[in-house]
């Protein structure tokens, strides 16, 4: 059985044209100013936690207000990120998080491979973050 290259001239032209149209539409969106960025604050974190049936015990919010890491009342952690005009919240078991804080930079990785690492600049490093360094919280 022989497999032919499915990409002929017509397909290349179609895909090239589509790529150009994608660039056009993204360009129009940018020109129209659709760069809205939500900001994360304590009340937003409280709302997100409450929506998942928990409360925020303690939290750090990035200097630019676009990301946050919080420990919840039920021992889990919540990671919040600004996603355009919305905020993405993800909840994880404390043991599924590994944290590294150096020189006002917080890096968190997650056992969940689908979840991108969290990198953010923070003003200070509260002591409770140490519970998560090297993988796993105290709870």
């Amino acid at each position: 059985m022989q497999f032919e290259n499915p990409f002929g001239v017509a397909e290349i032209i179609e895909l090239g044209g589509s790529a150009a149209v994608v660039l056009l539409m993204v360009g129009v969106a940018a020109v129209l100013g659709f760069r809205m960025s939500a900001r994360i604050d304590d009340s937003e974190l409280a709302r997100l936690a409450e929506a998942d049936g928990a409360r925020v015990d303690c939290a750090v919010i990035s200097q630019n207000g676009r990301a946050a890491f919080a420990r919840l009342s039920d021992g889990r952690v919540m990671v919040a990120r600004v996603m355009g005009a919305d905020v993405s919240a993800r909840f994880a078991a404390a043991k599924a998080v590994s944290l590294n804080v150096k020189a006002q930079r917080l890096n968190a990785t997650f056992a969940d491979v689908g979840f991108p690492p969290l990198k953010m600049r923070i003003d200070d490093s509260p002591a409770w973050l140490n519970d998560f360094s090297g993988g796993g919280g105290s709870t």
Binding site: S18, A19, M25, M36, D86, S88
Partner: protein, 329 residues
Amino acid sequence: MTPPQAPFEIPPIITYAVPAFVLLIIIEMIVVKLSKKGRYEYRDSATSLTMGLGNRVFGIMFGGFALLAYFAVYEFRLFNLGWTWPVMVACFFAEDLAYYWFHRIAHERRFFWASHIVHHSSQHYNLTTALRQTWTGTLGLTFIFWLPLVYIGFPPLMVVLFSGISLVYQFWIHTELINRMGPLEWVLNTPSHHRVHHATNARYLDANYAGVLIIWDRLFGTFVAENDEEKPHYGIVSQLGTFNPFRVAFHEWLGIWRDVTSAKKFGHVFGYAFGSPGWSPDGSRKTSASIKAEWAARHGAPAPSPAYALATNTDDGGKTAAGVGAGAP
């Protein structure tokens, strides 16, 4: 046995529709800008459109396998239905029913959800979201849901034609700009019905799987009306938190791989791959059923069931507190 020839050349419906897609997206952007209703974000749109482009690339590479499967099964068809108007009408309904079950199972079984999750991964809801399509549809065997149609005897190209029409129809319902559409809400899948489908609010989970006709949801008990008092929050229950198209395309497959390779028993392998999204042996993860049960407990409402949803949901704003079917996000 030679398949009956179509009496006309099957038009590449989706290709023909692309200029209209582009025009409508740009019009929607301008209306959103002027009216402040609806939301756009250029990085989110870039990801959605890139997923659409990638879908086409993978379609060129692997789409032929699905067509091959259609023609192979068609060789064993039960009836010679041919190309007549009554058959085409029947095919429209049959294709829409097949779409309903594909879509429902794509939400209820993780193997199929791994492809379909892509379409739900945006936290925005606009016309570009419609083009946020999977790259792994054919490889993820989604075409098998249409094989019964060709086995019955509907010509494969007729099935392809109505699949294309269904996809084109579903483009325009991805908008926040259109509110309710009067009596059409009873029969057709509308922007309002589909907003519910894309919502992560507990009351809206696992609802409105329709392609063109909402009647299937009403019939099978998965219909939930949009409630004016509860604005939909879009995306997936565990939000992805990235605009990276590769992570969007493959994250759930990686998740399945990680779970399956770390499973202790064969039953767990099966559960991780084909159970509800969120299934785990110890029940420590959340499924949409558990999310709805928690939500119902918090709001003092009975845990909803499909029959309950059928009995309690109406088009008048859905005042019922618990109108969602069983299953997964």
